[in-house]
Amino acid sequence: MSTPPAAANGRGGPPAATNGVDEPALLAVQGLNVALPAWADRERAVSDLSIQLLPNQIVCVVGESGSGKSVLARAIMGLLPAPHVHVTGGRVLFDGEDLLQATPGRMRAVRGARIAMIFQEPMTALNPLMTIGWQIEEMVEIHLVLGARERRARILALLEEVRLADPERILRAYPHEISGGQRQRAMIAMALILEPAILIADEPTTALDVTTQAQILALIKELQRKHQTGVLFITHDFGVVAEIADHVAVMRHGVLVEIGTAAQVLNAPQHEYTRSLIAAVPALAPRAKRVTDAAPVVLEVRGMTKTFASGAGWFSRARRSVPAVKAVELALRRGHTLGLVGESGSGKSTLARCIIRLIEPDAGSVRLAGIDLSALTRRELRPHRKHIQMVFQDPFGSLNPRMTVVQLIAQGPITHGVAVPEALARARELLQLVRLDPAAADRFPHEFSGGQRQRIGIARALALKPLLLVADEPVSALDVSVQAQVLQLLADIRDRLELTMLFITHDLRVAAQVCDEIAVMRQGEIVETGPTAAVFADPQHPYTRELLAAVPGRNWVPPRF
């Protein structure tokens, strides 16, 4: 096969298929086409894609959801979900052998031994019923003839290499018994135990907390250098790309739009799409505080405490009680946006839900505009609920799929006694406010994209003209370009309506962009609070410092165009 033909969509010629180095490629994908089934929204998952991977090189394939980056990885491994998704053309040359032509038996010999793979979610990628040790051992057993003792020695050695403390215990453990970071380390150990030439990593850090992510990225890089492995690293996160990539390939709708060295692509992207993506990445530089401390306090939280009792069910394995929020104090002034940042399990969502009384706190008080909400019964609270509204994380789960968009937006006011026609009319106005087509009003949520749904969710919250808006990770489920739009919308509305906002996020870049002040949470406690700029510039608490240090690509400043 010669050079691939020009890309069908005509947005610029196909990028060069080389990595600009003259070394012989370890892996060369040439003119790969992968067809999608008839019911899919486009014909091909991957169109006419060519890419090379050299030994001792990390190539990052970056793109938004649906760009075909994962399909590429699976096509190389021969793991496409046949028959619906299948290769229709091209070559995958590995050591000169076209893997697409290889027999199933040959592919099995290559997989694991020569090309290994790690996945986004190690919890589901590991068989829940088998011990970690057994699963790693299986990898060795099916490819090599080794004595049990040798196998074991090799596994233990590798577990130390991936820095798993107490490897004996890890070997005996089941996947659910160890932490996410440990699981991913074990996955890496399993993938690398046969010293494969290539490691394909499909979003391996996306499910991890930022600090763990940093460690895993470092580990992958270290091992890659040590074993001279070629790594095909798939990610959606430009921060991660900046952290790890030697070369970067940008994909969009199954087409490779740009490829080049990390420095080229990150700092001087050529393709328009790459530029728009990078432009959407929030800078880590904090915004200036917009408002003064003179504004009245809208929200005051005192001594908020919540402990989850567990062990109620037969099979729950959790400890007796889990303190989720420990005596938290907060105050939020009108027009301010407070960012609540922390890793998963830090209690930030629980805190928000306690404030809004979706969860009954064990102790503590919430005063909203002078009214002590915590003293009210659930029933008494109901008329006051309109003053605090919430925007949720999951654009798919937060809208009742059985209701039309106007119904969704109007149901709040209707509940609070607004006449139905008036509420519906107002709902249509709100659609314009959140920049949705008014024609969308009578459609159902499943007809919209994630970003559009988040807008609907925002409109629903705004329909009640709340004093306080609680936004719980409102953009973390969105692609980076959509994320930027929604953040922009939120900022605009906040300014226009003088909204007070409690903004929960795990992403320090987002927090930097949105929040006037931030509060850093860890294990149910706020360890540090202050104006965003101050905290970023001079973090007081070691944990805050750790968090900031872990932000991927923190040294990379996304260029502005």
Binding site: A125, N127, P128, F315
Partner: protein, 328 residues
């Protein structure tokens, strides 16, 4: 997972928690049966073809039926708590002796049914799932759908018609050939032959259910991420199926098997009546119509205990199969 002290504590706790449920069953049934018109004394008099009223009154006194309901209930509960199930006046025997006599055949039939339905169901489900959309899968799936819709008693009759009456391959009914009075292995073999048709009848429905569950679970599990991992490790499809998927797919079947036990005893009333199997179901049926409530309550009590124990056993099996589940 291992049978450590934690598991022992768990077992004890489970059993302790089952006590109120079982007592609740006894109390509710006791009260329910009080609503039944007529009593054991009438039945005995009726069976005798008539008896003078003094005789009936005497019977009532003897059975304690002349006392107020709450006194009868309290007495009964007191006895049950000391594991005394009372006396069946109609059968002139202690209830416990009667029940114990039927327990063996009942457990045999239940056990055989459970085993047959789970094993065959899992196997058929496996065969279907490993050949999705081929003729093998279709035949198995269609058979399962049909078996799932078949009335038990009817299929029992049809099996008798075919295998006993027409083909004369298997005995019609009963648990063993009573003319022969076989000993040793001959007897075992004989009972086994008698066991075939009732077991097939009783297990058909659940076999179909398990086949379908197993097939669905296998297909479900095949879509899981860990299967992709296994493929990426270079495992063959066969190894993936047997090493990884099978065990995961069996879990829902195990859960269902626990539920099956509860309904097995009820369903066996019909099958026992068709096949003249000397089990508890028939005994219960008879005791209801004889208003032999001590006996009926005893059977309810025992079957409740049985279900509790089997459910516990199923959970322990589950515990052994699924490390995610913990006794804490």
């Amino acid at each position: 997972m291992a049978l450590g002290p934690k598991t022992a504590v768990y077992i004890v706790r489970r059993l302790a928690q089952a006590v109120p449920v079982v007592i609740g069953i006894v109390v509710l049934n006791f009260l329910l049966l009080q609503l039944a018109p007529g009593d054991a004394a009438t039945v005995l008099a009726g069976e005798a073809g008539g008896a003078p009223p003094e005789y009936v009154a005497q019977l009532r006194e003897r059975f304690g039926l002349d006392r107020p309901t709450h006194v009868q209930l309290l007495l009964y509960l007191k006895n049950v708590l000391s594991l005394d199930l009372g006396y069946s006046f109609r059968n002139s025997m202690p209830v416990s002796t009667l029940i114990l006599g039927r327990l063996g055949p009942t457990l045999l039939l239940m056990g055989a049914t459970l085993l047959a339905s789970v094993l065959c169901g899992v196997l058929l489900g496996l065969l279907a799932a490993t050949a999705v959309n081929t003729w093998r899968d279709r035949v198995i799936s269609v058979a399962a759908v049909i078996a799932y819709a078949t009335p038990l008693f009817w299929i029992g009759l049809m099996l008798i018609l075919l295998f006993s009456i027409k083909l004369e391959w298997l005995p019609t009914t009963g648990m063993e050939d009573v003319v022969a009075f076989n000993e040793g292995w001959d007897r075992v073999l004989d009972i086994a032959r008698h066991l075939v048709l009732p077991t097939v009848t009783l297990s058909l429905f659940y076999m179909a259910l398990y086949t379908r569950m197993m097939r669905a679970a296998m297909l479900d599990q095949r879509g899981m991420d860990y299967v992709v991992t296994a493929r990426s490790k270079g495992l063959s499809e066969r190894l993936i199926t047997y090493r990884h998927v099978l065990r995961n797919a069996v879990l829902p079947v195990v859960t269902m098997a626990g539920v099956q036990v509860g309904s097995l005893l009820g369903g066996s009333v019909v099958v026992e009546s068709v096949f003249a199997w000397p089990g508890l179901g028939q005994l219960a049926f008879q005791s209801l119509f004889a208003r032999d409530f001590n006996l009926l309550l005893g059977i309810f009590f025992l079957s409740a205990c049985l279900v509790v124990l089997v459910n516990l056993a199923v959970d322990l099996v589950y515990l052994a199969l699924d490390p995610r589940i913990n006794v804490d």
